[in-house]
Symmetry: C3
């Protein structure tokens, strides 16, 4: 197994995501991650094992006895949630995942408190957290920071795992995991993800969830991807190139209605105007045709599902909320389960939970 | 039993508090609340059961074994404390109540973090919390929001209870519960609340605690209410009318000293100048005769008590603090016990705790 | 035993630290503190017992079984972390210490939330916390506040212990404890602290850690203290006088290199420019000769150690970080263990833990 202690930072940083992967694996040899940094770490086998573990945890948690069993699994561990870029949704979901497994937590989540650490280097701050906790779950606006910290910690006297809960614009691996888990659950007794058609709609240029999920779907067979967006916000060339390279079938379409008719899953996204370079840039774009409402719902196949990473604005009309195919609420809750699975696996407890008597 | 799933929001909203009550009851049929929204939900039987449960929890918690037993009762549950209007006192009290029962918690309590949710509708935010937690304890400046959320959640695929920890100017039901619990405890072996005289003094116009407690006291027999306040801050007409309608005896008085002489409980309140419509409005009012000091203490009956919802400014002189009749510190701690009782009852654990071996 | 209930506040406040000590002891008679307010409370016997307890906790915590045992020791207690002066490092360390022992916690740690309490007196705020919690861990910019609060609480109907996590410029007793614990651990099998030479370098005038540690070292035999600093930031006269009075050997030196050669421990500190009286005052001081780098490392004895209370700026070059003599990371983690020991002792669980079967 490749070890982060046997490679310098610059050398490691220069590797491709695929080449980095073995360095991030759990030393227990099971093939699941120790540090979770980017979506490309997960192959189909890892995804399926995590989804199975998430299912198991969800099932065990239904009874009080099961819930109390789970709360004991990692009751000897403590995790630090270091959110220098606030995000209550992602924060609460990771917190809940920790709580399910009995992990106690500390947190830094507002700018005022975290500004304290500005006087010192990131490396020193992270080593502070590693002094008191057994895992760091971090979200940062700084691209690549989680990766650097993982390398630093693995090369310290107190190596502990890093879980990237979003770094910069590029990576948010647990969001991709929960999207996959939602698809896996939705098609569980219906033949699985292979051969499905997934439509992405909205701001495909700037949404990192689209990028990650699009990549993870290439782990499955014959999944067709459709991209529906205003021309200014269409899927970036590198995503399309990556699909083309792998021989994955994809299509760029103008009409959400047409795409809906042929889709097994419609993945709606919000216009991410917080990344606008000129003020009001997004407001000038006509996005009116990229919203899912009653008409689209009428065209949606009976078995198909609607997804959204949330929060939403008006991309999905509230009249869809109670339709059984509206999967976005459950998708959110799936995030809690898959994160609990990931954390349990990180600490080497996959088998313990899979084989327990509950 | 009436069900929130069988009534539309507009229709429900238009009902009187009394008519709303059955919709909020615990489906276990025991008559205690599932959603706790307003003080009018509690009749005498419910109040007495909650006080008995609070007494029981308080007693069990005295020994380490008992405390550990309680920490197991709801160890499989997680609660969200969503305080978009900060209030550390109420926050900490609910937190402590959860901790006593073993509930793990997540929280949003500062404006900076909660502003994140501004982009989305309240409904979506609350559904986010309901994805990760088993109960929402919420405080909001927005009148009626807790009620709307309770209806929404009961009509979602993941119904969970709402506990209103203060909404707008009007409702703060658990404050009223702790006031009643304090009176119940204080007169426990002295014949109870029936037939007592309770004086309210201070800003009776804008204090929601006065409004709620005044109402709850009508559940008891022959309780006489006295209102002492500057003319500008006297008790509002609707409160007085409600008492008159129920044939409850009340009196408006000018002199705190005279009222003190005849009272079993003197309930002091702070001038709530944060609600001033013109700046400095309250400062112009002569409040000097509406403060409890050494002279009033000398007039207070030996068995009577002094209450205050806290925080105080100078409404009660600190020279009263160590008098055994100063009940305001214990009143605060009572808030923790009665909230623990309410939460345990909400999850259907009243009987379990009442009948346990501790 | 002296009791805080038997002495007035003014009388108590006027006592010397030594005379105050007996008033702060644990009523169990064991000689360890109930209220922890200042470093002078700890004599050699108390220091050695706390270090032994910290060692024990650290050892027990290594196995999952041990960790779960510890999490049960104080699972019936709840602590309030009241940080009106934010400090995430100290906060997280105390939090972790509580979590190790199973204590559940509540916190106020940001200015926005704590500002709420500004309307009321400190006494009322602290009594609020004492209503809901079993211990208050507090940090405040206000000199002497922790002491006042300890007196107030001990004279209330609900006395609970205060742990001072830093008050004003003067006292930060648990930092001094962790420094001593680090020295104890480092020289554990090498003859202990007696007879060692400790060099303090940097801003010795304004660093309260220097003041406290210098004092605590006088509990040991023949410890020589060396002070290396720019003339403007040299150790204050009162510290030097106190040493002289006790007949403790000390030296003021100009050269960190010379001091390093003869030291068993080099304690580096940051320039505390946040206390500058004129803006940029510190920036005018030539501090270039008071930094520990590669050259100093080369001169450091093989058995000697480098310490730093952290956060650091550039007082220690990062090239020292992986040297086995760089003790500052472990020093930070030691803070967690010694605080856990202190808290366990405060609640009277020293013997339970020392004698448990793990």
């Amino acid at each position: 197994m490749a070890k982060l202690t046997e490679i310098g930072w610059e050398e490691f940083e220069a590797l491709s995501p695929e080449a980095k992967r073995p360095y991030l694996e759990n030393p227990d040899g099971g093939g699941l991650p120790y540090h979770t940094l980017f979506a490309q770490q997960f192959d189909r086998a890892a995804l399926e094992r995590l989804c199975a573990l998430a299912n198991r945890i969800r099932f065990i948690n239904k009874s009080k006895e099961g819930a109390l069993y789970l709360k004991n699994v990692l009751a000897h561990k403590r995790a630090m949630l270091y959110f220098s870029q606030p995000s209550s949704r992602t924060f609460l979901s990771h917190l809940a995942a920790c709580q399910i497994l009995g992990i106690t937590t500390g947190s830094v989540r507002d700018a005022a408190t975290s500004s304290e650490f500005k006087g010192e280097s990131h490396e020193d701050s992270i080593r502070t957290f590693s002094s008191y906790f057994d895992m760091i779950i971090m979200r940062s606006p700084e691209r690549g920071l989680a990766e650097k910290m993982a390398w630093e910690l693995s090369n310290s006297e107190r190596p502990i795992p890093i879980l990237n809960a979003g770094s910069g614009k590029d990576q948010h691996p647990t969001q991709a995991l929960l999207d996959i888990y939602t698809l896996v659950r939705s098609f569980e007794n219906k033949g699985g993800i292979d051969g499905r058609t997934v439509t992405f709609c909205g701001d495909l240029m700037r949404g990192r969830t689209v990028r990650s999920l699009s990549h993870l779907l290439t782990n499955f067979r014959d999944v067709r991807q459709i991209f529906v967006a205003p021309p200014e916000l269409q899927v970036p060339a590198d995503v399309v190139m990556a699909l083309a390279k792998k021989g994955v079938s994809f299509e760029v379409m103008d009409s959400l209605k047409e795409a809906t008719k042929v889709s097994d899953a419609v993945y709606m996204t919000r216009i991410q105007d917080e990344w606008d370079q000129a003020k009001g840039e997004s407001a000038k774009i006509d996005t009116s045709h990229f919203k899912f409402g009653a008409e689209e719902l009428a065209l949606l196949r009976p078995d198909a599902i609607i997804m959204h990473p949330l929060p939403r604005r008006d991309e999905i009309a509230t009249c869809c909320d109670h339709d059984p195919r509206a999967m976005y609420w459950r998708q959110m809750r799936n995030g809690m389960w898959i994160r609990a699975a990931l954390i349990a696996a990180t600490f080497g407890f996959e088998r313990t939970i899979m084989e327990c008597g509950y």
